[in-house]
Symmetry: C2
Subunit: 204 residues, 2 copies
Amino acid sequence: MPGHHPARGRRTTERKGDVRERAILDTCEALLARKGYDAMTIGDVAQGAGISRGALYFYFGSKQEVVTALVARTVEHLWERSRATAQTDDPRQAIATAMHRTVELWNEHGLVMRTAIDLSLTVAEIGELWNHTADLFIAAITAVLERAGVQAGTAPDQASAMARALCWMIERSFYHASQESREKLQEASATCEHIWLISAGLIT
Amino acid sequence: MPGHHPARGRRTTERKGDVRERAILDTCEALLARKGYDAMTIGDVAQGAGISRGALYFYFGSKQEVVTALVARTVEHLWERSRATAQTDDPRQAIATAMHRTVELWNEHGLVMRTAIDLSLTVAEIGELWNHTADLFIAAITAVLERAGVQAGTAPDQASAMARALCWMIERSFYHASQESREKLQEASATCEHIWLISAGLIT
DNA sequence: ATAAAAATCGACACGGTGTAGACTTTTTCT
DNA sequence: AGAAAAAGTCTACACCGTGTCGATTTTTAT
């Protein structure tokens, strides 16, 4: 329909580059799943996205930047979801829904989350991204523990320190389980939930 | 002293290569600490060991093989130590000594252990090494839990599954803490011990 | 002393990364 | 619509680290 003016007052223009950028990230995610980080080459990603290597470097300055952007995209999604979570008064209920949501997260984004964890050491920016994510989780766990009656504070047997340990337990358990199968993930979740409940003093 | 015969009946011959091999591994460990795995190059290691790159490839077929050998050397040390551990009947005591020993292990070999964990995914052989090590720990934890009265079995709330989760909790907590300082490691240990005790039902 | 085995080296080929500069397409402004 | 600017694309190249090869030297055993 020639002569058609798209609505004004709103940025209609989606740069061609925006589409490409998404294509690059999508390809990166797919290749990460198929070949893993080391085996995946910039050339592969470029080819998958339908451009040449040189063109890719117009968008990202390095292989690390590409995967950092991918992690950022995913992690942003996590934050959004976690912000949208309804709060409950009952700690038992809070724990159950938190674990359930976490299972969903890992089912959906397990690959990128594992990659983020793996690269946290080597790629500083990814490390920060993941640290921040972990801090959100730790804060949430701390809150639940305190509401369940665990003494607030940072001593080894108080809420804050315990929350950190529980967070790492969940991270690592899910990291391994999500590589195996959804069933294993479900089992790991049940176990972590159980230990969390015990630690909160909600189970004998 | 010409004509000197080294004592017989005992393998006096330590191949020159044996010394070199040790030198290579030692250098590798030092460089790993200084620059990290990615930044460390085969050339660096060779230079540090006082030989050329070409000569290094006489000993090891690849960079991965070098670090795999280093991990193997360290892990063997762990196994030895863990075999030599006295058993106690009192679960509380068993947990305390286990955590204490683990702190020592991480203080001494934290760097290599972290490297092993990082490379578990990419280098299959290191993965197996570390898995086996983890299995030893899990078995030990399981035994203690059962002796403390936790029901044996693999269901999510039974000894085996809980031991696995606790193992990951300890691994991850120590992984992070050992990067910071001995104090942090000590604190992390106290927290993990506390959660372990609660999970075993030895604390209200 | 000598022959076999062990160890060493320098040169080379390969593959992946990242850069440079020329060129084309798209967007923006009037 | 049309020109200038901005955005996007490509090919070629330089660099670096890995791993291989064959020739050579050193060590070891007899």
